[in-house]
Symmetry: C2
Subunit: 230 residues, 2 copies
Amino acid sequence: MRSSDADLIRGFALFRGISDAIFDEVTADAAILDLPPDHVLLTEGERPEHLFLLLSGLIESFSQYNGKTTTLSFLRPPAALIVAAVWMDQPQLHSARTLARSRLATLPARAVRAALATDRAFCEAAGRELSIRYRDIFKELKNQRLRNATDRLANWLLTESQVAGSDEFRIAVGKATLAARLGISGEHISRAFAQLREHGVETDGKEMRINTAKLTAFAKPDPMIDGAEA
Amino acid sequence: MRSSDADLIRGFALFRGISDAIFDEVTADAAILDLPPDHVLLTEGERPEHLFLLLSGLIESFSQYNGKTTTLSFLRPPAALIVAAVWMDQPQLHSARTLARSRLATLPARAVRAALATDRAFCEAAGRELSIRYRDIFKELKNQRLRNATDRLANWLLTESQVAGSDEFRIAVGKATLAARLGISGEHISRAFAQLREHGVETDGKEMRINTAKLTAFAKPDPMIDGAEA
DNA sequence: ACGATTTGTTGACATACATCAATGGAAACC
DNA sequence: GGTTTCCATTGATGTATGTCAACAAATCGT
């Protein structure tokens, strides 16, 4: 592992406040993965052998059942994957694939659990990481239950705009992929975008330009549903 | 607090493996709440002042947005509420109300956070509790995205039957409440039950009798979606 | 620069579910 | 015991979203 990777990893929230000794223990057998786009790195139902840390790129977590596939989240760096599954040593509830060329670190699950069982600071950092993930997915369930497709898209665009820090930005994924993330069909997202044209959304391929005030009035964002947890 | 309550609380997963000293610290200012049915005990958006432990009864967590209400989960004892919100000292993402007369203990959030910040065992127990909750809600999101209303009902009935340990059981809630839990309207659940009559479900008010083999064949339960986490 | 492949859009139609209204039946209250 | 209220069911209809098919537009490979 390159030292630049080690520095990057050290900065993850998962390691905030922990001692160098424990950090070295957990990362002793770390490996780096460089993956091309559209590469499946986790398969639903398998026991986790590693904790994954996303250093760069973009990952989609998804799940399949009865012939259908749904996207559960997009993950951008810095992100830790399958913390809960590793902690409980239980099968992963989702698969994961790269949406872009991505760089990840893998930490042996056994080493992670050993550290959780001995180090308070690591345990606390992991608990806080999990709390954030819990709240994020809780919000996503509310989003799904309480909003229709167009509203979900509108609010997603507002959030992306905030992350980008501009009312003009480029989305990282294709529209079909975005549709899956929002829980709708590829065809339907076209119609949702068409509706949003009346509410301050201009699109040119992946380039978006939004009228924030107008779109906000339409989308009614709510901090109890929208925006990633700190 | 009665000593029988203290014993009950001591047995919660949240306190598994922790020292008596820390247990006493966390529960020093515990209070007991006896609530009638349909009493709101938590309101979405407020900062948590207490961690709640459900000792007996039944609770529904729900959320409202833009005039709509959705039920996120039913909670049965033993259950800990709003662990993530207390840990992060962030606003609760859901409200909660009793569905039946219920007995709860409240632990001051400050004391809980203090213990998390000092005690490894408590931190680990809380992390495991949180992992379980995370996985439960993750499953619920998959359930919502990957199944239609009738399939969700069918699988819910199978799970309830397993919990009851019998193919004959009584559901604890009214059908409208159950409908909300499944994310559908009160009217629609009647039609869903009607469909399931062909697949091994007999109902008489709240009494259910299912043909497990037949219903299983129809419902296609999946451990990656169904059943509470251990 | 060209054809080939993928990705997005649009229309027509099908399905799932919500809503509104009417009714029936069960439980609660004098 | 009768009335009242609540809860569940059913029918009719509306709306949101999915699916299939055709096509258009963008991207890729050579």
